[in-house]
Subunit: 235 residues, 2 copies
DNA sequence: GGGAAGTGTTGACCTAGGTCAAAGAGCGGG
DNA sequence: CCCGCTCTTTGACCTAGGTCAACACTTCCC
């Protein structure tokens, strides 16, 4: 099976384009971006595919071109706990790839997706050539650390209802809507529940409770925030 | 009140010595270590002191010269969840200091301690001069990220007994003792309980259960692991 | 040596959230 | 339009671990 030359070129442009637009590479010289892009490649995955599993080695850090990915922990009996959703333009796996360690979590495509794989070696090389990039990467990891601490805080110090209220609140644009506004859940309620560290049944019951209190209205994945002030106050 | 010149010099030597011995600074040229040390200072704190509280700005990253420090989350009503114990020679607060963000957790001295404060500016400067240091710092943050993920995993996917068994197991030297060996809890059982995300009552009950099963023997803070194999198997 | 504070233990009871089971709802394909 | 999916809802019940309250042991300080 041969691949047409035109497709190879289009793919290379895609890889370079996605990398150039990552927050991680803002301020990096175009030449350096191209060097990294040449070492990277695209990885198309169908919906439901397991991109990385616990214990596997990552070939590099991942950037999401399009689609949607969930990072999740899973125990031996299939119980799942979502860690983070990855949206297009975001990256994941930097820490694992840079350390060359076995992956601690699973990465699952929640929608048909295209990923860019950036080998750790390319990142190390760029770090040596561009101190500013090194600093950006460092700041990204530092931010991730704070996010994880916040995650532990909400999971252990806040009850399920507060976590849900906080999540709903975070879905809406901050500047937006003084009164009511409608948001759309990015993924299935089952996935949301796992992300909020609760079972789907619990999520369903909590949503119903909020509806009955007149705080929200739910129509499948569309959720209307009717009283954002009170919602914020819950969390 | 004046401070004798000899004391100032001794203090400066302490600061430099502690920094030079940090894993973070291994491989850094002595001259660079001195430069960082000159910008850093020692901070003695009594047992029980709050070194950093939620929302405070850190003056820099902290290294522990001697003593013992606990990093913990605390909610509005005083409920505490321990994040990490910091032993001499270890550091904390890098991410918060580098990002210049408000601190997300509390740092409390569990024993009379001496800390070295290393301003973020000193770290940034060294990063620019020493790419290898930048890489070490990056790896440290990456490792911290994986540790936090492991923390979330154990807190949400493992029951309290497994967490305790895992902790006890981790206290013993890996190469050590084929059969029974005795370890000493580094801090009060109350602090251990918070670190393991359970209440002190629960810890007490679980310890008793392990004693009754003949897995351990407890004598105040001395714990004898009688059946390390079975203990490992629990977690 | 005796009380006061800090630290641990124990028992009785409670509750947030999980489990299990069954039944609706959307939805893409034939 | 019906079939067979996957996703969601709902009710009945359960349990790990938290809460409360009392008491015991350690320190250590006067």
């Amino acid at each position: 099976m041969t691949i047409p030359v035109a497709d190879v070129a289009r793919e290379a442009r895609l890889v370079r384009g996605v990398i150039a637009n990552l927050a991680l590479f803002s301020g990096v010289a175009p030449g350096h971006v191209s060097t990294v892009a040449r070492q990277s490649w695209a990885l198309p995955v169908p919906r439901g595919a397991v991109i990385a599993r616990r214990g596997s080695r990552l070939e590099g850090a991942f950037a999401l071109a399009y689609g949607f990915v969930e990072l999740a922990l899973r125990d031996a009996h299939g119980v799942e706990r979502g860690l983070r959703f990855v949206a297009p333009g975001q990256t994941f796996g930097e820490a694992t790839a840079l350390l060359g360690r076995a992956c601690k979590y699973e990465a699952i495509a929640l929608a048909e997706s295209k990923l860019i794989v950036i080998p750790a070696a390319a990142l190390f090389a760029l770090m040596d050539h561009d101190a500013r990039f090194a600093r950006t990467l460092l700041m990204t990891l530092a931010q991730r650390e704070l996010d994880l601490v916040a995650e532990i805080e909400s999971a252990t110090l806040h009850p399920a209802e507060q976590r849900l209220a906080g999540y709903l609140h975070s879905l809406a644009d901050p500047g937006d809507c003084p009164a009511a506004c409608t948001v759309r859940l990015p993924v299935s309620k089952t996935a949301i529940a796992s992300r909020l560290d609760m079972k789907k049944e619990t999520l369903s019951r909590l949503l119903r409770a909020l509806v009955q209190r007149g705080l929200i209205a739910v129509k499948q994945r569309e959720i209307t925030l009717l009283d954002r002030a009170r919602l914020k106050q819950i969390c």
